[in-house]
């Protein structure tokens, strides 16, 4: 593919190292490792599945065995493909001809922004039960808005609380869904 030739060239352009490190363009090996890991997990767990007595021949272990073998095979195939052809082809450009291909092309991951988002969501899940929907959902909204670049802190705080209370009102009072009340439980 023609894009194969251009991508590594672009990577080496900034006047520094003549040869990119071996990992350049091969980070997808992580995916292959994960797939092989899942295959291994399925294989080990499958062996441990208790087969109830009186089960007809293709028992509960039959299909998992097939899936484990299948995943092992595709994981290996991906690993081989990535090693032989690093710097994955810019498929984004093929997928969306005419759309901004640059947007989907391999972009450096913004770890800080992603970190805040993931951390916010983790905290939200952790405190949802003890603290209750109203405050924890407001925190989730606030944290993600902050991570994505909103800096009107006071306005955002008010907006977050309004948003989570509106949902509480609409879904708990209106539709009868069950959301954890938490520390504010007594008020409502």
């Amino acid at each position: 593919m023609s894009t194969d030739a251009t991508t590594p060239a672009r990577a080496t352009e900034p006047d520094a190292p003549p040869r990119p490190p071996w990992w350049q363009g091969r980070s997808e090996l992580l995916v292959a490792a994960l797939v092989l890991g899942i295959a291994g997990f399925i294989a080990v767990q499958t062996a441990a599945i208790p087969v109830p007595t009186g089960t007809e021949p293709p028992g509960p272990r039959f299909f998992p065995t097939l899936v484990a073998v299948f995943m092992g095979a595709v994981g290996l195939a991906l690993a081989v493909q990535v090693v032989l052809r690093p710097a994955r082809p810019a498929q984004a450009a093929e997928q969306a001809p005419g759309a901004d291909a640059a947007e989907d092309a391999p972009v450096r991951i913004d770890w800080r922004c992603l970190g805040i988002v993931v951390a916010t969501m983790t905290v939200f899940i952790a405190i949802l039960q003890p603290v209750g929907w109203l405050l924890s959902a407001a925190l989730l909204f606030f944290g993600i808005a902050y991570a994505l670049g909103s800096r009107r802190l006071l306005f955002d705080a008010v907006l977050s609380l309004t948003f989570s209370s509106l949902i509480q009102l609409a879904f708990v009072a209106g539709l009868g869904l069950n959301l954890p009340a938490g520390i504010l439980g007594g008020i409502f």
């Binding site: 399925i42 007809e56 299909f63 032989l84 069950n178």
Partner: protein, 517 residues
């Protein structure tokens, strides 16, 4: 005629004020979600699943149908105005549609899309209604081996054939199958892959999987690429009447018809939804325009915003959606990610789509079919004059939009079962989805595999049990042979096409790696 009577009863049912209201809510909400950049109709259905929990089944599915069609409409509105298609079905529309919008012909492009989608939906729904007895009769002749063949077809077609890279598609399939096996085995009662966690005995909830992969994954993806500026901004809003002139109509009408014809067959086969037919329709229009230009009977506007390039893919996409509903209802076979979610919704109400559904829940089926017509009309009315209004939704700042999506996702996942385990799974699967997006691994095969995995396993084991271990029962009979033969033929066509494309690319640029594979 039987069908007409049934359909009339369905209309009588669906035209009740309550159901009309639900259909309206469905199309409005669906359009709203579809307009959001990066979100399409399958996400609209997934996010709004919890909203429908407290409705009766008929009302819930009427609303779903509205959300499904509304999501398609909203997605193409976003594709035209912002060049942000949320789903494969709107990508082809975005190519010429956004160029039309840049030339100041946004209202015409939106009207073309809306009418095209309307025509596709009406024609395909009518076909489904009138051919449903045939589909049901066919389905009644299906045994375990036939159903297993259908699932294999769905798996291979969505993962290996539709994706750009067969290996990555198959990896997505494997992940989905792995997820689908968690829980208690329905045939033997054995507990599998639960690690002893009681909340996992019933397996992963499809709502958790869908919302995590599509919505949470999208939020993470936006966060991970936030510094790149994103595609939001530079929108095009221009007032003006959306009416098409006579010259436009003369060009769009045949294109709508051709697009519908491309879409109809693809909804009924599990080939990953509307990606293939929309691009086939788009390609056909481009070739036709080039031929007209050569003959001097018209000009070739492709590349500068050709109205045919909006009309045909849009009609194809909604025709696919219509026949996909038919296949889902008649065969119980989801042919797209959205249909897979709707199948899960049926299962939640304890119903199994398929021939029996037409017997046991005839009221629901016909009311649903009738509401598909009603929903299409509502969407046309809503979209023709108000499409530019929808674009106003894009004025919501990006941080608030995605914060809102995150809150709604968590709400949906938690409310489905009031389970904290589901929320943690959502977080983990969201990260998996981010990784998959980063490496161009398609998400749709995961959803198809999660829904159809248990079906495939059950039918395979039943077929083998009947044959007492003899594998040849799987290819015994005309229907199974036909299905595998069709799959083989499609595979060959795709393989040859890819080989030719690769060779053409190789001629354009000298091959880099000669000794590959």
């Amino acid at each position: 005629m039987d069908v007409v009577d049934n359909l009339m009863a369905g209309f009588a049912n669906a035209l009740s004020p309550e159901y009309l209201f639900l259909a309206l809510v469905g199309v409005v909400l669906g359009t709203a979600v579809g307009v959001v950049p990066g979100l399409g109709s399958s996400m609209a259905v997934a996010l709004l699943l919890p909203v429908t929990f407290h409705l009766d089944p008929t009302g819930a599915f009427i609303m779903f149908a509205g959300v499904y069609y509304g999501g398609l409409f909203g997605d193409s509105t976003a594709a035209i105005l912002m060049n942000t298609p949320g789903q494969a079905s709107a990508i082809a529309t975005a190519i010429e549609g956004h160029k039309m919008a840049r030339r100041g012909r946004a209202p015409q492009a939106l009207a073309t899309a809306a009418i095209g989608a309307f025509i596709g939906a009406i024609v395909s729904t009518a076909l489904v209604a009138f051919f449903s007895p045939v589909i049901v009769e066919l389905a009644l002749r299906f045994g375990p081996a036939e159903y297993f063949a259908l699932t294999v077809f769905a798996f291979v077609a969505t993962s290996a054939v539709v994706s750009n890279s067969a290996v990555r598609g198959l990896i997505a399939l494997g992940i989905g199958l792995a997820i689908s096996m968690v829980g208690i085995d329905s045939l033997s009662g054995a507990e599998r892959f639960t690690l002893g966690v009681p909340q996992l005995f019933e397996g992963f909830s499809i709502i958790t999987v869908t919302v995590a992969l599509l919505a949470v994954g999208e939020v993470f993806h936006v966060a991970a690429t936030a510094h790149a500026g994103g595609g939001v901004g530079g929108s095009l809003r221009r007032a003006g009447t959306p009416w098409l002139g006579r010259a436009d109509l003369r060009r769009t009408f045949p294109a709508w018809m051709r697009g519908t014809l491309f879409g109809l067959p693809f909804g009924s086969i599990p080939a990953g939804g509307s990606e293939i037919p929309t691009f086939l329709a788009f390609g056909a229009e481009r070739k036709l325009a080039a031929r007209r230009a050569r003959r001097g009977t018209g000009e070739d506007e492709f590349g500068n915003g050709a109205i045919e390039g909006v009309a045909a893919p849009e009609a194809a996409a909604s025709a696919t959606a219509g026949t996909a509903m038919g296949t889902l209802l008649g065969l119980g076979l989801p042919t797209s990610a959205t249909a897979a979610i709707m199948l899960a919704a049926f299962q939640q109400y304890g119903m199994q789509p398929g021939p029996l559904l037409f017997e046991r829940n005839a009221d629901l089926v016909w009311a649903l079919l009738a509401s598909l017509f009603i929903g299409s009309v509502m969407l046309l009315i809503l979209n023709l004059p108000f499409a530019p209004l929808w674009a106003k939704l894009l004025l919501v700042p990006k941080p608030y939009m995605y914060a809102g999506i995150a809150v709604f996702s968590s709400l949906g996942v938690y409310a489905a079962a009031s389970s904290m385990v589901d929320l943690w799974l959502m977080l983990i699967l969201g990260l998996v989805a981010l990784m998959m997006r980063r490496f161009d691994i398609p998400l749709a095969p995961v959803l198809i595999a999660v829904v159809l995995g248990p079906v495939a396993e059950t039918e395979l084991r039943r077929a083998l049990a009947v044959g007492q271990g003899d594998v040849s029962v799987l290819v015994d009979g005309g229907i199974t042979l036909g299905i595998y033969g069709l799959l083989l033929a499609i595979g060959l066509v795709v393989a040859v096409g890819r080989l030719r494309a690769r060779r053409a690319a190789g001629r354009a640029a000298p091959p880099v790696e000669a000794g590959r594979g």
